[in-house]
Subunit: 137 residues, 4 copies
Amino acid sequence: MTPIDRYISESSFHVRYAETDKMGIVHHAAYIIWFEEGRSEFIRQRGGSYADIEKTGYFLAANELNARYIKAAVYDQLIRVRCWVDSYKSRVMVFACEIDDASTGELLFMATIKLICLNAEGQVTRIPKEWAKWMEA
Amino acid sequence: MTPIDRYISESSFHVRYAETDKMGIVHHAAYIIWFEEGRSEFIRQRGGSYADIEKTGYFLAANELNARYIKAAVYDQLIRVRCWVDSYKSRVMVFACEIDDASTGELLFMATIKLICLNAEGQVTRIPKEWAKWMEA
Amino acid sequence: MTPIDRYISESSFHVRYAETDKMGIVHHAAYIIWFEEGRSEFIRQRGGSYADIEKTGYFLAANELNARYIKAAVYDQLIRVRCWVDSYKSRVMVFACEIDDASTGELLFMATIKLICLNAEGQVTRIPKEWAKWMEA
Amino acid sequence: MTPIDRYISESSFHVRYAETDKMGIVHHAAYIIWFEEGRSEFIRQRGGSYADIEKTGYFLAANELNARYIKAAVYDQLIRVRCWVDSYKSRVMVFACEIDDASTGELLFMATIKLICLNAEGQVTRIPKEWAKWMEA
């Protein structure tokens, strides 16, 4: 269930043909990329930019991913990605997302991803304080 | 140059992180997928649906692709895909596209793709007459 | 830890350039695709073929994915995918994989995926008995 | 036709499930990625490493791609990528490839790509003389 006490970004787009596979439905790795785009959109909607974050020498690297596939998306479907910050600590952020049909709201996919903050040398580092402005509800 | 005597679809979206590569720019195969999405959007804007076309047992298979990379797209950039029908014959359609920066109009990529009409058995077949309603300017 | 009481398939390949992203390392969705290829290879090494399975009207659809990213793979690295059947029930199979550096054995990634058996109509169905010959250790 | 007066690299692998689309065949962008992997393999077989090239501050960026799709590859098929240097000038290299069925030799795809040599600042620059050792037949 989407939380009610924090910012939830929303973005919508049509499923691309390239995202389908021979089963006739969307390939299971495509949702992972949609989730990532949902995080980019979350940061944009909060007034930040993940592109700018990387320019300052910080990176968020995937550490753990947990995903549930509820109903298969299909080509051309207009889907909606909702994304929010589930939790964070000094060096770690957890994003969550739900992907549903943009018209009917039928749930298709849900996932969380744990990201670790790295510096330009690839070392685990503290999340910069300035991120609080877009991370916090 | 985009033609002035026919319908040109436009769609815009942000470059996804997954579409970049270690050169720091968008991978050259990603533009091919954007072009394809441009064709889907073209058909949608013309009142058709490529999903519906396939349901009637017709398919458009790639036969020849010619692409020019003018300037590299980057992560998070808002890009615009413009797509149109370049030409068509009884069994063949050629789509063209230009991809540029949605804000500045700076040209990034242009390509044409020749598609062959196949039936459900994978045989080359005539383009159905009903397609004229969205193919023709 | 890889189990010692069952068949474990192994396959090796070089990381493709397209699998990297602007962080300079492999994109986190690429491992999901390698895991899938590991399952294809597992079935091949056991004398089966997932292509043939689908021809008989059965499909394995992703239901739940849990992944841990330990160390980033990089372009050109020779990696190894090890894959095995973690468990199965009448309608469900769980595959596990470990991905490491093929030369040093350094662990990069581990994951499990729960797959549901579907028939050609997309309904959940029993795993055919004939699969036992490649599923079982 | 593959040339007879120069080095031609060969590599083989099984088509991945993720590379297919809902038409039941391999998506047309996947061949572009196989061609790129063919170039990586070409450089490896010639004793070089494109990973090392980038470490010295040189990059090969796609400029023009021309591709012909002859016959569709399918999931699980063992395919072969043959790749060679078609031509080069001071700042430009053209690679060519043919992709066929590894067992029957039936031709599936052929393409050329023109690559421009860039330095770390993204400026067009001369191809380093040391590359001659792997570029030249």
